[in-house]
Structure formats: C-alpha cells, structure tokens
Amino acid sequence: MKVLAVLDNPKYIPDIHGFLEKAGFSESTLYAVSNFDIPDGFDKVIRVDDVSSDVLVRMGDELDGFDIYIAPHTKKSLEALSYYAGYRGIPIATEIIDYIVEEKKIVRNILSGRGIVSYRVATPIALTIAPGKFKGSISRTPEVIHNDVKPTPSLISIEEKSFGGVDIENAEVVVGVGRGFRDKDDLNIAFELAKILGGEVGCSRPIAADYHWLDEDRWIGISGKKVRGKLYIAIGVSGAPQHIMAANDTRVIVAVNKDKNAPIFEYADYGVVADLYKFIPIFIDKLKRRLDV
C-alpha cells in the first residue's frame, strides 16, 4: 500500500497517523506533500509553497500511483484533495469519523448528523479525515525533497480571524446561545450563567457567522465544534440538526425556548418553555442562592 498525505497544517498529523494505524496501514509507504517542514512520521516529504489544487495538479507524475490520498477535513485541504481526485478521476469520501476494523469499513455522518453510514471503499481512493476522531503517531525519518511548482498568484490579502482561545470541545459545561437573544449585550446573562456553572459559552452558527457577536471557536455544530461534556444548556436555540447533533454526546441537555414546538425539545432531557429574558435571570438568582456563590 502507498499512501500520500496532503497537509497544510502540522496539527493534523496525529489525525492522519491515527486513521492509518486504525485502518492497518501504518506499515505502508507513507509520503506527504506539505507546505511546512515535517521532521518525522513519513518516508518522504515533498515540500511545496502551497498545497492548493493547482499545485497538486501541476506536480504531475510525482503524485501518481498512490493507493490512498489522504488529508484532514479542513476547508483548504478538502478543496485541494477534491480537485485532485476529480483531476485523476478517482472516488472520494470525506469527513471520515471512524473505521470499523473487522468489516474494513469507513464511517461518516449523513443527514446533518442524524444518520450514519459505513461502507467499504476500493483503492485508489481519496479520503478526508474529521479532526479529533483519530489519534496516532508513526515514527519515520523522511527524505525531504523540494518541488518549486508555483501556485497561480491569486492572493490579494489575508485577514486574521479573532479567536479568544476558548476550548468548548473539552468543556464540561457549555451554555449555548442562539438567535433567541436580541442583542449582543444580552449575551451577558449567558456568560454569567456559564461562570456560575464553571463552564464556557458556545453558540449557534448565525451568532458567530452572521452576527459576529462571538468568535468562531464558540460555534457549535456540524460545521463548527462538537461539545461532549456533562451538561449543555441551549438557550434561544431552535434545535436544527446541524446544531444540536454536535451536542449529542453530552450527558445532559437542557433547552430553554419560548416556543413549545421548537425541535430543540426533542433533543433535550429537560425543557423549559419560557422567555429566556424572564427565565434566565431567575435561574441565575436561584443558582446563586442554592450554590451559595
């Protein structure tokens, strides 16, 4: 078996190694094409300026003949690998979350997280691996070669996103806010609640992506972060599967929504049908008194 990893960020190497180990490919010939130095973990590293779709295609024969082309499921790697798979005419499966060893099947979510599918794939194949699902480490000292294929110059400027550095994926308690909040300042009551409970504030996609009230590292959902602590309190969140299925591994889910028919209640252990502006201050007050804080 020959494996080629397409990498544009060192932080996903354990995910790629983890998948290969679980799928029984850790003894395979491992090559990487990357835009950063990799001192360990591959037989050969091909250093390029950028791992974009056009660079991969222009590298030509050098990337021929692999059985598995693999990349982390990040926006840029996914774009580059999908394009390359299309160029080569090989099948692709994206956002792999697991591998069933006995049946040799890859697993991915479907239907916005409400369904799951597992199936066998034939090689050659292109795969993208969901971050955080596999963890492994393969040790090899690579031969490093440089390829100076240039990407088509297209960059005008880069804008950094602001991140507060919160890690809601590993928080035990998360208070999630949705469009039920009318104003950015109103989120203060969610932060107060989170503080009392020793948790973090997360949010639905519109709160981060549309309104920019919170940074994207707080965005919960299939296109954001997964939460899997002991308690998730969703406030003013309607319960779209793209949001709430990313909280399905949480032990207890509480929902506060003024609409009795909101789908969120189907996904909650405890539901409070109330105006958040009335209920949350009372809840905070009671908690303070009973927790003596």
């Binding site: 299309g86 369904g115 950094e160 002991k230």
Partner: protein, 263 residues
C-alpha cells in the same frame, strides 16, 4: 454573462424516516432544495441582474427510486427557477438510486459542457443531506475550471472574480480568473422568499429533463449503502409551572440528581 448554479434535491433532514431496526428508509424521506443552494441561486441572480446574461440551473436526481422521488425533484427545480434560475437542465434516470460525488460531478460536468457552458458556476458550500462539500471542486477539475470554496463575499470583475474565502483559521481575499467554480457559504447573502408572481412564472420557464443516454453515459445501477439513524436517548421532560421560580427550582433539583451540578 451567463452563470450556472448546481443544485441538489436533498433528503429533508427534518423528516427522518426509519425502520424498527434503525435503518433509514430513504424511499420515504421527502426531497427539498438543499439549504445553501438558495444562497448560490440568489448570488447568481444578483450578479446577472447587474451584468445581464442568463442563470442556468443544473441538477440530477441523486436519490431514487425515480417513481417515488420525481414529484419532489420537479418541485425543487421549480423552486430554483422561482428563486432566480431562468432555464434548467436536469438528469433523472431510473437507473440511479443513489449517486455519489464522483458520478454526480461527472453528470453535472457533461450537462454544463453540453448546455450553455457558463464560465462561472456557483454551488452551496455543502448539501444538507450528505455534506460532503466535494462536488464543487471535483466538478471544477472535470471542467478544467478554477476552484474556490467557502466564499463569503464575491464580486465579478473584468474576466475574474474577487472573493473573500473562509480558510478555517483566517480569511483570504483572492483574485480568481474565470472560468471558475465557486462554492458559497450560507452567510454570503440573505435570500428572499420567492414572490407569488415569481413562483407562477417559474412554471413557464424551460425545464429540460434528460436521461443519462442524452449525455452519453450508461446506466449506473447503484445501490444504497447501509444508512442508520443516530440514536438520540433523551428524557424529554418538560418543566412546566405557573411560576418560573418553581421551574428554576425543579430544574436545579434535576441537575443535582443527574450529578451534573454540585451543591
């Protein structure tokens, strides 16, 4: 300038149907226009309003069996036409029960090359049912077009487009020469609901229904994979009381009992 939009009649994730053994019953789930395709159509019609030119809709029926899905499929295409498409080219072939990204891209690329060949193709960032996000770039390679995905802002210039694209940890402003395929995020615009007049007009717009043989492809006879529901085990207890004070107390009691809150 003519613009193409690829759209999907996606399984409605809000209407899940499954068997007692947990198998998802695809045949019984209705199809709806994939959510972010609305943004792609809206963006295309905005651009075409300012530059002239036509908006083509391209699609194929990816979920079978055809006799169970055809009506939903047509409704989805009519909706796409109501939202701003002017002419649709779609493939519905009874041999297709499920079309995976590689085949979907192959069909779309042939449709686009044969009918209209617009130099700018838009799509949503992901479909609501499979969320592979792979068809746009795969298709771009098949067409030998440039690709840019997860676009949050775009404007058409002379022979190229300027975009702001989401690159996970940062945003990149890029200049992409045409021809190009562009996938847009759900935040690029706020599509308006079609008016009654637009809906009525959509029924008079040309909708060309084709089979695989019309684009020189053989029948595929794909099969479903084993789709299963993700189990949701929740208590679904609604706390109701005249007094929100009592509700708050009850909730705290439950959370203590669950061991997630320590007094």
């Amino acid at each position: 300038m003519d613009i193409g939009v690829i759209v999907k009649a996606a399984l409605d994730v809000n209407v899940l149907r499954s068997e007692a053994d947990g198998r998802i019953s695809i045949e019984n789930i209705p199809l709806v226009l994939s959510e972010y395709d609305r943004n792609a159509i809206y963006e295309a019609s905005k651009i075409s309003e300012s530059t002239g030119g036509k908006v083509y809709i391209y699609s194929l029926l990816t979920w079978g069996p055809m006799d169970r899905k055809m009506r939903d499929f047509e409704n989805v295409i009519r909706e796409a036409l109501a939202l701003g498409g002017e002419e649709a080219f779609v493939v519905a072939d009874k041999s297709i029960h499920y079309s995976e990204p590689m085949f979907t891209s192959e069909v779309l690329s042939r449709l686009i090359k044969k009918f209209g060949s617009p130099k700018l193709i838009l799509s949503g960032e992901a479909s609501t049912d499979m969320t592979s996000s792979t068809v746009a770039p795969y298709l771009a390679a098949k067409l030998n077009y440039n690709i840019v995905t997860y676009v949050k802002e775009m404007s058409l210039k002379n022979g190229y487009i300027e975009v702001l694209r989401d690159a996970d940890e940062k945003l990149e402003r890029l200049k992409i020469p045409l021809p190009s395929v562009v996938s847009v995020t759900g935040e690029i615009n706020s599509p308006k609901l079609p008016t009654l007049i637009q809906i009525r007009r959509a029924f008079r717009k040309p909708l060309h229904r084709l089979e695989l043989s019309d684009i020189d492809l053989s029948p595929v006879f794909s099969r479903y994979e084993d789709y299963r529901v993700v189990t949701i085990k929740r208590k679904n207890i609604l706390l109701e009381d005249e007094s929100l004070e009592n509700v708050a107390d009850k909730l705290i009691d439950h959370l203590i009992q669950e061991g997630v809150l320590k007094i």
